[in-house]
């Protein structure tokens, strides 16, 4: 914020200014990965019952189906977020094809 320009016409003053690059990056990582993570969760658990999966992995743990779904969702969201973040990092840190 800080240097809010004082305008004579208060009716026109507040128009949207773009987010910072960092904020846009965070949004571009968090939201698409949320969407793809949701789809992946749906697809995965449509075919795999979390209880069956648990029997095959950590049978000694006491997890409910809801816990399974939630863990699955955050797992997929996280994986997708890592991928998005790496993509942003690569496209931003590489040598640009053209410079103008």
């Amino acid at each position: 914020m800080g240097q809010t320009p004082s305008n004579d016409n208060p009716e026109l003053e507040p128009t949207g200014k773009p987010w910072s690059q960092r904020a846009q990056d965070i949004a571009a990582v968090a939201w698409p990965s949320f969407l793809t993570g949701s789809v992946a969760t749906m697809l995965f658990f449509a075919f795999i019952d979390p209880l069956v999966l648990q029997d095959a992995t950590f049978p000694s743990w006491d997890l409910s189906r809801m816990t399974g779904y939630a863990l699955g969702f955050f797992f997929f969201w996280g994986i997708a977020a890592v991928s998005s973040a790496l993509s942003i990092f690569l496209t931003r840190s590489g040598t640009p094809l053209t410079r103008d």
């Binding site: 200014k17 019952d49 939630a70």
Partner: protein, 464 residues
Amino acid sequence: MKTDAAPQGATSYYEAHQKIYPREIKGRFQRLRTLAVFVLLGLYYVLPWVKWGDRQALLFDLPARKFHIFNLTFWPQDFYLMAGLLIIAAVSLFFVTALAGRLWCGYACPQTVWTEVFLWMEHWTEGDRRQRMKLDKAPWGREKILRKTSKQFLWITFSIWTGFTFVGFFTPVTELGARLMTLELGPWETFWIIFYSFATYGNAGYLREQVCKYMCPYARFQSAMFDQDTLVISYDTQRGETRGSRKRGTDHKAKGLGDCIDCTLCVQVCPTGIDIRDGLQIDCIACAACIDACDQVMDKVGYPRGLVRYTTENALENKRTKVLRPRVLIYAGLLLALLVGFGYAISNRTPLLLDIIRDRNALYRMTNQGLIENVYTLKVMNMDTRAHRYSLEVSGLAGIHLDLDDKEILVESGEVATLAARVRVPENGMNESGATITLTLQALDQADLKIVEPARFIGPAPSR
């Protein structure tokens, strides 16, 4: 990390976002949006409470892994139907976008709908646009604290109700309400209520148009569905320019002025803070608030309405607008085909499933009577809404015979029965060591409820 951001300075990317104060507006399109808010949010908040028989009409019962939608019950095995539904939704969106632009964004998107309600609450507590701007600039005092607190109270209450309703789609809502009252919510119920409440509060209260600008993928790729004949909201530059203020009753045309009096109302009402007069912009969510604003002004100054209006790029260039064009027809054809396919799949869905698992220990066994015996484990899943009795028959080999513990298989609604089936064939009934047999599961009380599944029958290698 090296960044290719614009140089810091006048148009730096590092400028912070500034709050947009959309001005309230009345008009035809605003009435349409208000109607959409009531219909859509009405459905959202009321549907979980609707009963169908003795259960919730709409319940996505994740703990039990089945979805209830009115009289239908869907199982994980029906997933292809849900995938089909999602594809239909996507194609519908493409179709509507090609035809009429961003109707979805302006009237139906949850982001728009909930933001609208949050803006109403902001209006009730903090006043109109001018008052809100003044209040934000004013130092903290009694009135500011009071107004801001009441806004937060409304926002937070509404958000929690929204989160609660969301979880009510996945867990029976009356029981959920009872548990909420006695503070006995499960950990995941609590978590998801808070998660969804917080998302609503943040998205509709603070992020608002920034979700469309920075986060929404559809906002970015919708222009791919656009062409010159797509309905857009546009300012009529030919008619409006040169813009400028004027005294009432002056002959503006003689002074070289267009119809735009430069009152900036179209900018003030814009929820995304753009100036529609700058041309078609990706930030425009096509909410038509600027049309309502401009029409009012045109009425007041006695000019014809429609300086800002729903139109097409072709119409603005005085060319003919074609409604029926290849892309619209292709989307429509695709949508129709999908809908027909989906309807067929739903109406021909057999709510019965038969899984056949061969005994893994022995390929076959010779009985005392000299018969070849194969043992299968059968899983019979009744996906219907009521219990059924089934009979099982086997065919495919000469002299084939089925031995079950019970002649009739009773399976309750939504249950899975597991049973052992011993199939026997006389030794001379087989020419090869393996053959495909057919199991037919038939409901005894409903002729069209049956399922036919193949299975592999193994015998000894034939002696030569």
